[in-house]
Amino acid sequence: MHAQSPGRFVVTRIRDGLGILLLVTVVIFLLGYGLGDPAALMSPVDATPEEIENLRRLLGLDRPLYVQFVDYFGHLLRGDFGESLWQYRPALPIVLEALPFTLLLTATALVLAGLLGGINGTLAGFWAGSRFDRATNFLTVAAVSVPSFWVGLILIAVAAVRIQLFPTSGFTGWQSLVLPAVTLAVVHGGRIHLLVRSATFEEMTKPYAMVARSKGLPDRLILWKHVLRNTSVTVATTIGWEYVRMLGGAAFAVEVVFAWPGIGQLMINAANRHDFPVLQCAVIIAGAFVVATNALVDIGYRLMDARLRVA
């Protein structure tokens, strides 16, 4: 491993992130234009072969693939993702209208999941083997074993249909946020819990904790003064990973369940209508957030953990 200054690491990491984003666009382009037949995808289901052929010529799809990619990429750089085949307006604003809803939902869920998993995980690791540890442990392993969209459906059945506590569909105010955010927080908080618990347990049994204990420091203070400082890095990176997981797809099925007007709902609607430009645009925009979050987590991890810092 070669030493690298923090500044250079940041630059390298951002460059790598941009490279991966470029790769994502290449993959998306190849999927659409290389493997598939965009003219057929964009045409209505009952289009005749002549109509599809005309569209192909109109869209310039009879040109060589690399010419099309340069063309495509040039348009992307200018913010031109093509026009929605269903709403007849540019794809980018459609995606950007849905984006705040996805960010609001995932950010709320992440805060809840971080609190739930971080606090409970730390306590469970601190009281390893206790009744609290065993109970929360089984619940979290169960929570990470079920699909999040199913948790959402069950919450709808219980909290909304039976006792009509919260709205279950669409966005009509902050109450609409409760159920989808709780759904995501349960599953992602479970995974955070598991990792934080094992990190806390590991730190509590390390020699430095034993030394502190032999000096007469109560466990509570060992946790507060020493262990938390080390596990906080784990907590932070784990929360970052979970955000990547949510934006990378986990949140989208939950959006569909609650008819939440975010990117996931948009993507599935676009997929069903063969609205390819909107679908591509949504994947690239969501992908950009995933790649950026990944880079931020890496950089944050690097800067926070003194052991990885190069003087």
Partner: protein
């Protein structure tokens, strides 16, 4: 730099975190493997164990709740809007759900273990290439690419099976690479090289058997992950298509009736959760048995 990033391996971390939980009693140790055996038996025998034919409709017995009796007989888990017996359709769905989970994971395993061993053993540019690929793959929003892929190529069981390994191979590659790096320095590998074994020979007969236990643990974890991913895709309507049936598809099918027939959504989800939970618990058991858990 590369190693710092390799620390960021969520699936392996998760596997270990699961493994470190010491909660189950002795009886529990047998319970989860028994669940898996039962599911495999259900998948293999399929319709023979189902009380009714999974597609047999009966309009007189629509949306019966669990424990209800129709003119045909007893329905343990109730019936759906066409009067089909829910338990029988769930048993029919077991086969494909497990088959996709196991097959896709196995393909990912073969790719990941092969590339991981090559990267760890040969090092240099092979290592860089493989690890870059794994990194790019992990950093890519694969679920998003999966949606696009399935929309373009059309949703089908085959396309789901060739797509899902892409989600799991990097975890195998990372784990096996790290293990191979360690094993490469051992005396017996050195001895094997000294006696004239070629690279592939060393990998096949000395490295592979030694990485196998850890790979087994990860495999069990990943089968659960893959089954959840398949359920998600099928639920969204871009995975397995009717008339094929999986648990994820059954949840999607029951969704419109959530307010009137809670069992249609609940039961397939419980079964899926139980299967994934069983795999997670089994992985923990393996890891404890192989002595690598803290």
């Amino acid at each position: 730099m590369l190693d710092a990033r390799l620390g960021r391996n969520e699936d392996i971390e998760e596997a270990r975190a699961l493994a470190r939980q010491a909660t189950l009693s002795r009886a529990g140790d047998l319970f989860w493997p028994a669940v898996i055996v039962a599911l495999v038996l259900l998948a293999l025998t399929g319709d023979a164990l189902a009380p009714y034919a999974p597609t047999a409709q009966d309009v007189g017995a629509r949306l019966l709740p669990p424990f209800a009796t129709s003119s045909r007989g007893f329905h343990l888990l109730g019936t759906d809007p066409l009067g089909r017996d829910l338990l029988s359709t769930m048993i029919a769905g077991t086969r494909l759900s497990l088959f996709i989970g196991v097959t896709a994971t196995f393909i990912g395993l073969v790719i990941g273990v092969g590339l991981g061993m090559a990267a760890g053993y040969y090092g240099g540019s092979v290592d860089r290439l493989v690890m870059r690929l794994a990194e790019a793959q992990t950093a890519m929003p694969m679920f998003l690419v999966a949606i696009l892929f399935l929309v373009v190529l059309g949703p089908s069981v085959f396309n789901v099976i060739i797509l899902l390994p892409a989600l799991v191979w990097p975890a195998f590659a990372r784990l096996v690479r790290a293990e191979t790096l360690r094993l490469r320095e051992t005396l017996y590998v050195e001895a094997a090289v000294a006696t004239g074994c070629t690279g592939p020979q060393v990998l096949w007969s000395h490295i592979l058997p030694n990485v196998a236990p850890r790979v087994a643990v990860l495999t069990v974890i990943e089968v659960g992950h893959v089954m959840l991913a398949e359920a998600g895709l099928s639920f969204l309507g871009i995975g397995v298509q009717p008339p094929d049936v999986t648990w994820g598809l059954l949840i999607a099918r029951g969704r419109p009736y959530l307010a009137v027939a809670w069992w249609l959504v609940t039961m397939p989800g419980v079964l899926l959760g139980l299967a994934v939970l069983a795999f997670n618990m089994l992985a923990r058991r393996f890891e404890v048995a192989s002595g690598s858990a803290a």
